[in-house]
Amino acid sequence: MSHPAPSITSSPYFTSLITVFLLVVLLGAGGAAYPGFLSLQVMFNLLIDNAFLLVIAVGMSFVILSGGIDLSVGSVLALTTMICAYMLQTWHWNPVLVIVVSLAIGTVFGAAQGALIHYFKLQPFIVTLAGMFLARGLCYLISINSITIDDPFFVAMSQTQLPIGDCFISPGALIAVALLAVAIYVAHCTPFGRAIYAVGGNEQSALMMGLRVARTKVLIYAFSGFCAALAGVLFSFYMLSGYGLHAQGTELDAIAAVVIGGTLLSGGYGYVAGALTGVLVLGSIQTLIAFDGTLSSWWTKIVIGGLLFIFCVVQRVMTMRGNKK
């Protein structure tokens, strides 16, 4: 098409750069308004507290890039915390084995959803919505109580603070960042990653070009399931408990993070690294509100909505401007 195609196509990096720029502005504004906001530890806390969200958002990026959606991730996260807690506390399994098994369960769960989506040509939204109910429901079947984890390995992972200067970072945050790095590599430097983009661009064409669409789609959802389970493990480290009500609505946060990071929900356009920006934006908004400390519950919601609004609108307007040039 000779006319200017959808803005994001004409300068792929542009939106992402704007997002980063706006994030910096957001943090700067916070620093100016609240003393102590711009300390290194607060920045690290952003990563520590949102490690699980970042992991989920990475998986979600793959799914969204392929033109799908995965609503089950929050529930799979909760289910994983539950499974971990149950296996550790009731069966007293070796923690490493527990982690491996729960990651495997999450992966299989995701793959099963992917298979349903692909082979029965079902809509991702509905399949993963049912998957969301199922995973949540399974939590309650294991136990409706929360289960506290006191396994020494988990406790150590929870309480270890890796010092950086006079600040610290948690192992969970490092795992999340490592996963992000791997995911970026996979998305941009491996045929599998490119197949994801191709499927997201046009599934029919991808099929006609001879790509293994079936395998790719099942793998994408399996990966998302894996990420959700890994996030669950990180969450177990973080909270040291398994609970069916953990991480409610996290799927929406993850989707929002990915979309704010510049990825198009219709698939095919965006960067996995955008997940990090998106997560940091959401995290900074929350931190800002916590530092402010005067907002009532409803003002909290309104302000989150308002900041999201400003952010999205500025991002959009700047993108349009930039592309006109």
Partner: protein, 512 residues
């Protein structure tokens, strides 16, 4: 030339395929020999594309056998077919618009370096590959940046990359102009020398005779016959496609004389564009379209014809210039405004900018008319059906019924429906961007006659086509575009094919 002594590399035996309501293929057989270019011809909806899709695993045949190099095969997917050594370019461009041009060529078989994709190497190879077709573009930009013709070349390049035994090209030349076609043919000839078997679909008789060794003619889902090129005259070929008794005259050579050059003065100015331009797309140009005139827009690929048309129609916003219609200044913010002023625009990219695939023929056909009438004044169903039936008949659209989704029509028939969409609105000015793309010889003739008749009744037409002879034949006046700007304006008869090419190539040479 083919040696019939060698065994066929690919044999189709009695292939049948039915869709709901249509027997698309009925016991079709075909032999494809190594080292030949085999052209498949037939009217729109004859079953050519379906045959190719059956052959490459997109559809499963209801009955029949596919034999490749003596072995019976049942490809389940395009991937299967590729692995078996069958490389295909389908009729509708099947590439990913979000990926870069280079990726579209290489996806599925990336050059690797230390296990990871070698981006630089890939871009280099892609550029080289396209350069062989004399296309010099930035291969790292997304495919969606480029016009359809470029996309088609990319699809072809992609298919050439595989070391295949069989290469199938379904109407690869439908939006290419002569230069590109020549380049493509020289590549194909090279491949033929190397013993590749090439199955080629086109509606252009010239191209058929220029490249084929053998022709299979299809009619109504059946094989009419298989001929050596030398044994079949053009007239015979057309008659066999159409299924009529020989009349002794090939339709393609019939010359229509729309209006005499002397009648110029009877045209009144309808639309006048002054300094119309858009940064990066079209340099400011002047254009006048007169009432009842068929104005041809000639030029090479990427010369800016489509862009000019889109600006006139308000599909893109012009940075500079003014448009006046019948003396009144107009400012089109959207296609809707242009339609309100009596303009219609049939886009060259039917898959992305024309057809609403899941909707029926009827709904597609009345869409623009309904849009113009507004949302509240729904056209009564009876009237819709009547209009649809009328145009299906007038343009010879082959469809099971007017309620069939347009997506299940053959490519050429979709094109006719989209043309009809604009004809029903009875516009004062109709902009046709490659309107006959993918339409068979006979129908093309009929459509152009139809259009010319409308012109006589006072409709203005802006006609864009990559087929120079066609432009020359039907236009009252020709504007030549070059490098995204106007390269001269010529009255009917002032140019012939060579002189146009000359103008396009050399600039403003004045031809008497």
């Amino acid at each position: 030339m083919t040696t019939n002594l060698s065994a066929p590399v690919l044999e189709l035996r009695g292939i049948s395929k039915a869709f709901t309501g249509v027997q698309a293929l009925n016991g079709v057989s075909l032999n494809l020999y190594p080292g030949e270019v085999h052209t498949l011809m037939g009217q729109n909806g004859a079953g050519k594309s379906t045959l190719i899709k059956v052959l490459t695993g997109v559809y499963t045949p209801d009955s029949g056998e596919i034999v490749l190099a003596g072995r019976s095969i049942q490809p389940q997917s395009t991937l299967d077919a590729q692995n078996l050594g069958i490389s295909t370019v389908y009729q509708e461009v099947n590439l990913c618009p979000n990926l870069s041009v280079a990726e579209n060529i290489f996806i599925g078989r990336y050059p690797r370096k230390l296990g990871r994709i070698d981006w630089a190497g890939m871009a280099r190879q892609a550029s080289e590959l396209l350069e062989r077709m004399q296309i010099r573009i930035d291969v790292t930009l997304p495919l969606a940046h480029y016009p359809l013709a470029i996309q088609q070349m990319v699809a072809i390049s992609r298919s050439l990359l595989v070391s295949a035994k069989v290469l199938i090209l379904d109407e690869p030349t439908s939006s290419l102009d002569e230069k590109e076609v020549d380049l493509l043919f020289s590549v194909l000839r090279g491949l033929r020398e190397q013993g590749m078997a090439i199955l080629f679909v086109t509606h252009f008789l010239d191209q058929t005779y220029a490249i084929s060794d053998r022709i299979t003619v299809m009619r109504n889902g059946e094989r009419e016959g298989e001929y050596l090129v030398g044994d079949l005259s053009r007239v015979d070929l057309v008659n066999k496609m159409v299924g009529a008794v020989a009349t002794g005259e090939a339709p393609a050579t019939a010359v229509e004389t729309p209006s005499e050059g002397t009648g110029q003065s009877r045209f009144q100015s309808f639309l006048r564009a002054v300094g119309l331009g858009r940064k990066g797309a079209l340099q400011p140009m002047d254009l006048e379209i007169r009432q009842g005139e068929l104005l041809g827009l000639a030029g090479l690929l990427g010369s800016g014809r489509t862009e000019a048309a889109r600006l006139l129609f308000g599909a893109d916003k012009a940075d500079t210039g003014t448009i006046t219609i019948e003396g009144k200044a107009c400012n089109f913010a959207s296609p809707r405004d242009a339609i309100g002023a009596g303009i219609g625009f049939c886009s060259e990219d039917r898959k992305h900018e024309g057809a609403i695939l899941d909707l029926s023929v009827r709904e597609n056909l009345i869409l623009a008319l309904q849009a113009r009438m507004g949302i509240m004044r729904a056209i009564p169903l009876k009237r819709q059906q009547q209009l649809a039936e009328e145009y299906v008949k007038a343009l010879g659209i082959k469809t099971a019924s007017i309620e069939t989704p347009i997506g299940s029509l053959s490519g050429g028939n979709q094109q006719k429906v989209l043309l009809a969409r604009w004809l029903v609105t009875d516009p004062k000015l109709l902009i046709l961007d490659e309107p006959t793309r993918g339409i068979d010889v006979r129908a093309k003739q009929e459509i152009m006659d139809y259009v010319a008749a409308l012109c006589k009744k006072g409709m203005s037409i802006l006609f864009i086509s990559s087929e120079l002879p066609e432009v020359l034949r039907v236009s009252d006046r020709i504007v030549v575009m070059r490098d995204r700007k106007q390269g001269g304006e010529y009255p009917r008869g002032a140019l012939d094919e060579t002189s146009v090419l000359h103008v396009i190539a050399a600039g403003d040479t004045h031809v008497s």
